[in-house]
Assembly symmetry: C2
Homo-oligomer: 527 residues x 2
């Protein structure tokens, strides 16, 4: 199988996405994951362009990667300067990276209008920068900025730019669709021409998603002969994002028969996508191909029951190949067979004609109407079902809670105080606690009351808290859905609460989270 | 220019997406928008499959569309029955729709394993259902389910199925990539074969996004000769979604030279996308091509300043062609030139070397470190800048607020009470109000105190309220960012507040919202 090389630019181009701001530590963690996963090149930043990237390269000089080559990114020298006198070029060498990518203009309009120099001088800038760098590092990659636009406007000049880089010794010539405006058929034809014109060169593709075809563009370029693909995890990047490696890699490997990463590594793709989503604090769209939570989710009754019989009927690949899993969700479109599937997952065998099952179905429909959504709150759903069948004991009974938030103009921040009164068996607990906000105050007061009886609750940490208005048209008086994600270090679970009152909704999700922990410990015989 | 017909299935296939549940009213509203926009076919549902769709078709019989044909969707007759005896088929006719789409199996494996009949009987089912329906309605569209998988497994049988539909009089033969596993090069080749084999037939494409190439697949099918494209607004749909019409339409019309919708309608594309996002309560990803908020957003300093000079340098199309707009965002990657651009938008001309500007930049950086994000809160950003230059007067001074939320086990829901003490000029106001939750109680108490002085605040409605944890690893003690969207019927604006305390963060966003309304009214001379 022929090899395609993956060039990840999550840390450089990906960090241009709106709302993303990686710290040096974030970059180091992502880099390590990418290296383990088996990408071939990791573009880490532009040394000298900002202090963060300079510090990063200093740290990188001290580590050794397993698989990936560390790449520094920068521009060709300035017009009218010598390459070795250009500070920006010097910074690339100082970074210590053994592979350097330099971008240069290949669209005549950009040469004359954006950087304001002559077409001839631009060719010299490309040639001299590449050949100078090539003397000092192992590999130089030339990134032809705006190549496709350049080709459309002035084909012969665009080729001259590639020729300059190739003659100067560039190891790769990468065709960059900077504005993302090119469609897959064009990418195929143009890449094919480049490959024919430069049979000795190794060619790459760098696509952006402005036309919603970045993944297809990358695949078509490979089919035309490109062997290096640039992209980012989850398609992070400016505007509409870069080409999404999480789709490109499985498409190349599972469908087009190229060798990309070892197949046991491919099984870590979903984990990698979620990891980058967490570090970048960018929620992963559920419907993201291959790695999204819904990518193999079946909702409609017909599909769900067919998939349970023969999975290939409605699945394009086996989800485990990319480390994802099949999900059958509970929703008002689906019927009894889906609920039975979920109950079976929980270890509950119920007769599909039992009146108890029908009552459970009605209860679920009722809650969904109120605004509940169990898709991201499987723990609450499991509690609902098990409570329905009498399988969850009363760990405590609430008597009352109260939260007060007060702020005077002279205060730096408001005070939040919660009190909780509850019974564990016959023992009354009445506790009070302060918190940074009302939910943390409640959380603390509740644990204060319970930890004496259930010490394992100390391990529970709330790792995510999300709020959504259920009926958006009514503003603050509408219903609120709170999703809480918790962990005890071993497991992770989601719970949900719905109410007109955000505190009550939080309370429901909070108590479900703690009860779920107690139930699971009990089921596993830990308590 | 050659016409491509758009077949929208947002209301049918789109409604299969996880978390979507359209009411009859929602469907009617979306249908009206789609019709105004100019799609050619609107698939509304499966009559008889559920009570909602039955009611919908009853209502549809009473209305007249301007542009679009109403389509009812259903299956071929059951094995071993006559078409006219099949209740499901009868329901299609009873719906009153003049165009009917029937799907039939074209993958041999599905015939024998999913519906469990013979290959021969399946051909009869297709032929008889299409020819029976064709006698009663104007147009019959045959949807060849799993066509691409069928073609790969048993090419000759897949063609026999198309042949049966064509011979029976189907007006369109639509190739459906049901599992979404096919790549663009294959779609092109296979569609080309179909077009060559059936030169008399009109061919369509129905793609799903499981390989992240649904848009490209649709385009490649059109390039191979298909002239009807199925898809949904925003790519809504099961698993990874259907082909996104919001990308397909501009690609076909602006780039491939087909005629799709009138160009003045294309300018409403962004509005349509946001409308469907709101009705379906599915937030539109910011990075969605063409219609997303970030699709034409420039963040990095170099790009932003080049775009300001000549927009084609970094934009693949003029955003106004699809009703979107260019945005330059404020972020720590961007420098002075972006802030100056924003200030100019607000009508503030500031010297780019003034010390006040530098102070403002520092203030913004400080707030961003604290967790502020102004990208979705332009009103708060405008207030920040104008306050910095002394252009916002003190409409009121807060003295104190207090919120109490209490619930006893015997209460149906908690009580929320807020008190606010503030000064308008020298007059002290001390108000109290109840609310459905703490934020609505605060909102009411605040308005109670202010409306006497500023009656136009009565027009302000909060239409969205979002909460996000800024530092996800610390659970409920982490910082909270609240985004509020408000409207006064004429304008819409977003404000933001950040605090460890959700109530305080809400308070900041809430007061900014009201102050922004007062400022705008004043600037426009309404007060």
């Amino acid at each position: 199988m022929e090899q395609v090389f993956i060039y990840d630019t999550t840390l450089r181009d990906g960090s241009q996405a709106e709302g993303i701001n990686f710290s040096v530590e974030d970059k180091m963690r992502i880099l390590q994951k990418l290296d383990e996963f088996g990408v071939h090149y990791i573009e880490c930043g532009w040394p000298g362009a900002n202090p963060k990237d300079t510090i990063l390269f200093e740290r990188l000089r001290k580590i050794k990667t397993q698989n990936a080559k560390i790449v520094a990114f920068g521009a060709t020298r300035k017009a009218g300067k010598k390459a070795h006198e250009d500070k920006q070029v010097e910074n690339l060498l100082k970074s210590g990276a053994k592979v350097i990518t330099v971008f240069g203009k290949s669209w005549d309009f950009h040469v004359t209008h954006a950087i304001g120099t002559t077409l001839e001088e631009n060719l010299d800038m490309v040639y001299e920068t590449v050949s100078y760098l090539k003397k000092h590092v192992e590999e130089v990659i030339f990134d032809a900025e705006h190549f496709f636009d350049g080709y459309r406007h002035n084909e012969s000049y665009a080729f001259k730019v590639l020729e300059a880089a190739f003659q100067a010794g560039a190891d790769w010539i990468v065709l960059c669709d900077t504005n993302g405006g090119t469609l897959p058929n064009e990418v195929y034809e143009i890449t094919k021409k480049v490959v024919q014109k430069f049979p000795q060169a190794r060619v790459g593709i760098h696509a952006h998603n402005d036309s919603d075809t970045a993944v297809a563009n990358s695949l078509m370029a490979v089919l035309a002969g490109a062997r290096q693909v640039h992209g980012t995890i989850n398609g992070l990047g400016e505007r509409t994002g870069n080409a999404n490696l999480c789709s490109i890699i499985p498409n190349l490997q599972l469908k087009l028969g190229f060798s990309v990463v070892p197949s046991q590594n491919l099984k870590k793709l979903t984990e990698l996508a979620h990891f980058v989503s967490e570090i970048s604090n960018t929620p992963l769209p559920k419907n993201m191909p291959y790695v999204g939570e819904s990518a193999f989710t079946h909702k409609a009754g017909v599909h769900a029951s067919a998939v349970m019989k023969r999975s290939e009927t409605y699945e394009h690949i086996d989800p485990s190949l990319v480390g994802n899993r099949r999900k059958v969700t509970v929703s008002d479109l689906s019927g009894r067979s889906n609920i039975l599937y979920k109950l079976r997952e929980m270890g509950l065998e119920v007769d599909d004609k039992s009146p108890e099952l029908i009552k459970l179905l009605e209860k679920i429909k009722e809650l969904e109407k109120e605004g509940y959504h169990f898709e991201a709150a499987e723990a609450s759903f499991e509690l609902l079902c098990k409570r329905h069948f009498g399988l969850v004991k009363n760990y405590f009974d609430l008597d009352a809670y109260r939260v007060l938030i007060a702020r005077r103009s002279t205060d730096l921040s408001p005070v939040s105080e919660a009190t909780v009164r509850l019974y564990v068996e016959d023992i009354k607990e009445h506790t009070a606690a302060l918190g940074n906000g009302p939910v943390s105050a409640l959380d603390r007061a509740l644990r204060k009351a319970l930890e004496e009886f259930y010490p394992s609750l100390k391990d529970v940490q709330l790792i995510d808290y999300k709020v959504r208005i259920v009926n958006e048209s009514e503003g603050t008086s509408a219903k609120v859905r709170v999703l809480i994600e918790s962990t005890d270090g071993r497991r992770k679970w989601g719970t949900v609460g719905v109410s007109e009152n955000i505190i009550e909704a939080s309370w429901i999700a909070l108590t479900d989270s703690l009860v779920y922990k107690l139930l699971k410990d009990e089921e596993e015989g830990i308590m």
